[in-house]
């Protein structure tokens, strides 16, 4: 594209200084090509905004609106005081005709249930287990039934739902920044009071990608994300669990495999899809401290001791 063309466009749009405009006008008089370009550009001065505003687009699907609202609420739950400015959980209209069937089936809604559960707690509401199936119309045998029957903790449900949003793309460019990670871990130890260690799972083919501080029901929830060689990311989620230690238990929550245990007043949930990774065995190795601590002890020794 020639600079002249851009000048002509600026001229047509009245964006040139008077002397520049005069220069362009001389050019137009001297060049039929320039005159033709100006004619075309002037003809292109149309009210595109108004035209597209009248475009008969399908409305935002209700299902999408609900998902985004729930997602936003779940994301900011840790920053909100309970009940503060939090709208009530949208009651899903299970018979919403506008929700595309294909999309609904393709987008597994457990995360939505989880986000709504989180939102309900934040909003001071409680979603009874019996209401959960309403969030998952047309899929009566999905994970919600399993969740209810196996008594999965709400925080695990929320973590599973959150994890279901992850794809490999989500963490594709997440660099494990040792300095920042050390700082985060330091904060986790000091502020969150969670004396956790970041397991090195490279022997299982898992690359550490990130550690994130989340909140569930105003309690710290740490998510440690690993990327396997194939398939979506796997997360080790940890929160306080001031109850007796609990042995490893394995279950399937919707499409996700979840291995849970409780140890030294920390509750763990290893969450992922079992594509080439034996999460049960991995959970045992982590709980038995058979894996190394990541980043080397030198990096984390101080915060670990502080925690």
């Amino acid at each position: 594209m020639k600079t002249d063309d851009l000048m002509l466009m600026a001229y047509v749009d009245g964006e040139l200084a008077p002397d520049e405009s005069q220069e362009v006008e001389m050019q137009i008089r001297a060049s039929s090509e320039a005159a033709e370009l100006v004619r075309l550009l002037q003809a292109s001065r149309l009210d595109y905004k108004a035209a597209f505003a009248t475009q008969d687009l399908p409305p935002v699907p209700e299902s999408l609106t609900r998902k985004i609202e729930a997602m936003a609420r779940a994301h900011s739950a840790g920053n909100l005081a309970p009940g503060a400015n939090d709208p009530s959980v949208p009651t899903p209209s299970v018979t919403s005709a506008s929700a595309p069937v294909r999309s609904r089936l393709r987008t597994v809604p457990t995360w939505l249930a989880a986000a709504c559960v989180a939102g309900a707690f934040v909003g001071g509401l409680f979603l009874r287990p019996g209401t959960l199936p309403l969030l998952n119309p047309g899929m009566p045998n999905s994970g919600n039934a399993a969740m209810a029957s196996t008594g999965v903790s709400p925080w695990v449900t929320a973590a599973v739902g959150y994890q279901q949003l992850y794809t490999r793309d989500t963490v594709a460019y997440a660099d494990a920044n040792p300095a920042a990670t050390s700082k985060i871990i330091d904060d986790i130890h000091r502020d969150d009071g969670l004396a956790l260690r970041i397991p090195d799972l490279s022997s299982a083919g898992l690359t550490f990608k990130a550690v994130r501080r989340l909140h569930f029901n105003n309690k710290p929830l740490v998510q440690i994300v690993y990327l396997p060689e194939k398939g979506p990311p796997i997360a080790l989620c940890v929160t306080k669990g001031a109850k007796a230690d609990q042995a490893i238990a394995s279950q399937v929550v919707d499409t996700m495999h979840v291995v849970t245990w409780r140890q030294a007043e920390l509750s763990y949930a290893l969450i992922g899809k079992t594509e080439g990774v034996d999460l049960d065995a991995l959970g045992k190795r982590i709980s038995n401290r058979e894996v190394d601590r990541l980043f080397g002890d030198a990096t984390l020794e101080v915060p670990a001791l502080a925690g």
């Binding site: 594209m1 063309d5 851009l6 002509l8 466009m9 033709e36 370009l37 004619r39 075309l40 550009l41 002037q42 003809a43 292109s44 149309l46 009210d47 595109y48 905004k49 108004a50 035209a51 597209f52 505003a53 009248t54 475009q55 008969d56 687009l57 399908p58 935002v60 699907p61 299902s63 999408l64 609106t65 998902k67 985004i68 609202e69 997602m71 936003a72 609420r73 994301h75 900011s76 920053n79 595309p100 294909r102 999309s103 393709r106 987008t107 949003l165 992850y166 794809t167 793309d169 989500t170």
Partner: protein, 181 residues
Amino acid sequence: MNGADLPGMLPEMLPRLWAFALRISGDQHDAEDLVQRACVRALERAHQLQPDTSPLSWMFSIVHSTWINELRARSVRKRSSMEWDDDFLENVADPVDKGPETQLMHGQIISAVERLPEAQRVVMLLVAVEGLSYQEAADVLEVPIGTIMSRLSRARQAVGALFGTPDPNPRASATRKDSIA
């Protein structure tokens, strides 16, 4: 304005994100997935949103890059106008309070933009329809501002050829005018 405000802003931005996603993907189901994935990515990176960056432009950027990645994943090099899903474009005119001539004109404008090459079409959507500045559009598409202006100029010449009064010295534009629906 920073990333901490983003969750609260997403629902408000949703209609524009939805429209943009629909227009670049041309498919309702793709658009729904696209918006959802873009919002997830945005929330994950909310801390990267700079105070001097328009959250809407930033979201457009994520929607666009998510879509480009999706196309790459599908090994689709380019979406030609022939592949456009006309389901939601068949009735482009809003019948409310608009005369038939205005309706026709609006329909022709939309049609003209939709027929542009993809790179030019997206620039037109961002600048002429969404009202982004050249610099914001450059940020969204991660190209130099000069590229934005070049694409815009070419796009407008193509649209102008469809809408301009016939040149006394007929050119290609005279024949292209017939293609307006």
